[in-house]
Amino acid sequence: MRTDPDPLHLEYATPLDQLRLVLQPPPAGAASFSATYVGPAGWGFEPPGRAGIARFANHLMTTAAGPYDRVALARRLDRAGATLSRQTSPEAAEVTLWGPGRDWNALLPILAHVVLRPRFDGADIARVRRQTLERQLRETTQPASRADRELLQVIYPPGHPYRATGLGDRRSVDRIDRAALVRFHRTHYVRPGAALVVTARAPLRSVETAVRREFGSLPGRAPPPLRLPHVAPARPRTVRVDLPGRAQVEVRVGGPSVAQSAPEYPGAFLANEALGGRPMLGRLFQRVREENGLAYHAFSHLDTMRLGGTWSAAAGTGSDRWRKVVPMLHEEVDRLRDHGVPARELNSVRTSAIGEMSLALESTADAHELAVEAAYHELPADFWATWPARLRSVTVRDVRRAAAVAFDPNRSATVIVGPIGGPRVV
């Protein structure tokens, strides 16, 4: 008899008009809880000339909120044994509270303060501006982050929400002020398109009551919808950026890809797993590192969002080795696209991906990530429970067809960043 990992038991509710609640019990034995607000506040929603404001606002929200200034909030969390974390992407922003499970009801008001009542104090704005400017420069001068950024800039046209990394530029970040932050927050931390995800050992009714009590004043106005401009096919391009004085060269090959809701998604997911998404098992790791010893890391990534996605193959290698690594990445991507994945290899990555579901249920934080993903993509409540069956139904032909769509050569680019010598060539 085939035994799958215990299915994730997600419960869906709408405790407040237009606000979705996803409740998930923590793994057996887990003593912590997590709660996340995920909503339409990513950098794709930034008004013109305001690049960087989404991450800026998200950062400040976890700094000081409601009755707590920066130090008071930090001390409140420390004394409770809780932490706040944040994440921003083109389409969404998240704020997550983690802490002792038995205190979930007492700690939920902290998350409500953060989401509903950020303070945006002047001193905090000045501090986050300084930190953001330094991060911008780090992104520019570090080969890995520079390579990621260059890839997005070459594969997406100006104005495309996926083109940016969310840090903005010096001028736009200098212009961010309290009024703009308040406006962005009011417009984008709302009920429509948002969800509260709670992983706690608590009955749904109790959580619904708590959410109604704490989040009742969350605005009900929908922000303007996010739209993706068309990305026209183009000849494959190569960008080289010389960063003298660095030790390692970072290589990226990538392009636009499919959304999580695309019919090709399960096949594309397994295609990426075979290419390099599965740690140590992927073709890139095996060929570049294990067979040829050319790099410490070699992997691929398929970032599927609501409206679209991005794929990339990546490696970090020496200044005397990148010329060998670049063609290897291309050859492996081409091989995947042109020949797909043989049945035996497909079974191997599929078995691995299904088995990994157990590992995703090790701790509250691990399981919570899956629930947040389900909420963000508005997946059905049984999505993760039925995910193994969906993967089992994917055929060799499905993978090949999906790879052709998801790893489109006509919209891809190659980026090489590091101590490579010579000028930048586009």
Binding site: S32, S348, S363
Partner: protein, 440 residues
């Protein structure tokens, strides 16, 4: 009154005749099983000429053993949905696999096979050399790595903590397969290892399985005690580096006690007051240290007024006396000198006045909470049990927790006075060149 103790699961422990220590932490509800092998071998056991050997051996243990040919180790674990990896530090090397519980036999078989019989062929050593170079180059891209390597070389002149765990570039270039095999056969063995299994498994059946697989291994593993003693530092040591980067970066190190020193609890309190958390009892869902700590003294003195964009302290628990460091990344336009002065002010103030009562209360609450949630998930349980079993003993965690909770104001002040003596510190400043913020 009951003394606080960490929230460990119930344990079963035994030692095989060949010296291998075994720790079992079964949890019938866990969907996974996590197998950890910790060796009390690290860069402390190397010497110039073979620096980086422990880390290189770590790589080679993925490159083949009698029952697991090259390429099959990854497939055996990842192929069933598991994950595996390893890491090397100054005092230890740890290998771990976490798998769906029904596949527990695979990592047990793997670890028993490679504990004493890894192949480490010349051909694989040659191929792995560029991988290790590449790993080191990836780290060298970060000014923080370069500064820390320089700092250790400044602070230590005799003790093996002097060199970077990844090894010196020149040693990576010249280490041979024969040297690695010698090193492996000398130190990696049952006497220097702890096997930890945590998660969903049957206690008795797993104990039987472990005895069957590991009892047949020979008793091996030479003494890993380090006899080199670092002499007291005479005066300050200082170095300046420059290269690509963003803004000025400063790291200062003071001599700090070994993990099992009676001075450790007060040092951990100092770390928590200055930087916001201590490595062994920090809150959070992750494995390492959390992010910003706006209530910490360094943050308030350096980041709030705009001198730095990041500032933290770190005391690393180590087997032998080591370093307590403070590091800060300057804000735009702030010099390394100004940053250093601000750090000095912070440590002098703590040494002069000690902590406030509310700071001590915060530290105690934080440490108590951190300890309460430290054991969640088979992988984290295996990590934490293995760590304490390797660097001390499992119950030492309780001893340390209680000692930290008992530390008083005077003890912190006295420890700060003793530790932050400016005549025994090392300072490295990093100045960005090229297109840094300071240059535009």
């Amino acid at each position: 009154m009951r003394r606080p103790r960490a929230t460990r699961p119930r344990l079963d422990r035994f030692t095989l005749a060949n010296g291998l220590r075994v720790v079992l932490a079964p949890d019938p509800a866990s969907p996974t099983a996590s197998v950890w092998v910790w060796y009390r071998v690290g860069s402390k056991n190397e010497h110039p000429g073979i620096t980086g050997a422990s880390h290189w051996v770590e790589h080679m243990l993925f490159q083949g053993s009698p029952r697991y040919a090259k390429g099959t180790i990854d497939r055996a674990i990842v192929g069933v949905g598991g994950m595996l990896n390893a890491f090397t530090d100054t005092d230890y090397t740890a290998y771990f696999s976490t798998v769906p519980r029904e596949h527990l036999a695979i990592p047990l078989d793997l670890e028993s096979d490679r504990m004493t019989r890894a192949l480490i062929s010349d051909e694989e050593v040659a191929r792995e050399r560029t991988v290790i170079h590449s790993e080191r180059e990836g780290n060298e891209n970060w000014p923080e790595f370069r500064v820390e390597e320089e700092l250790n070389q400044l602070a230590f002149r005799v003790h093996p903590y002097r060199w970077e765990v990844l090894g010196r570039r020149t040693d990576i270039e010249h280490l041979t397969g024969a040297q690695l095999r010698d090193y492996y056969h000398q130190y990696y063995g049952t006497r220097n290892a702890v096997l930890v299994v945590a998660g969903g498994f049957d206690r008795a059946a797993t104990a039987r399985e472990i005895r069957r697989r590991f009892s047949r291994l020979p008793r091996s593993g030479a003494d890993v005690t380090v006899t080199d003693i670092e002499p007291a530092a005479q005066g300050e040591r200082r170095s300046e580096l420059s290269g690509p980067g963003t803004t000025a970066y400063v790291q200062i190190a003071w001599r700090s006690p070994a993990l099992r020193s009676p001075e450790t609890p007060a040092t951990m309190v100092i770390d928590t007051i200055l930087g916001g958390e201590s490595r062994l009892f920090s809150a959070g869902a992750g494995w390492g240290r959390a992010g910003e700590h706006p209530a910490s003294r360094l943050y308030r003195a350096l980041v709030d007024p705009g001198l730095a964009v990041r500032a933290s302290s770190e005391w690393r628990p180590r087997e032998y006396p080591s370093l307590f460091t403070i590091q800060a990344q300057a804000a735009h336009g702030v010099s390394g000198e100004r940053l250093e002065q601000a750090i000095d002010d912070v440590v002098v103030r703590l040494a002069r006045s000690g902590p406030t009562p509310s700071e001590l209360e915060d530290v105690r609450a934080k440490v108590r909470r951190g300890a309460a949630l430290a054991y969640e998930g088979a992988s984290r349980i295996g990590f934490r049990l293995g760590y304490f079993a390797t660097v001390a003993e499992i119950e030492y965690e309780d001893e340390l927790l209680n000692a930290v909770l008992r530390v008083g104001r005077d003890e912190v002040r006295d420890r700060a006075r003793a530790m932050f003596s400016s005549s025994a510190r090392a300072v490295v400043r990093y100045t960005p060149t090229g297109r840094g913020i300071n240059a535009d």
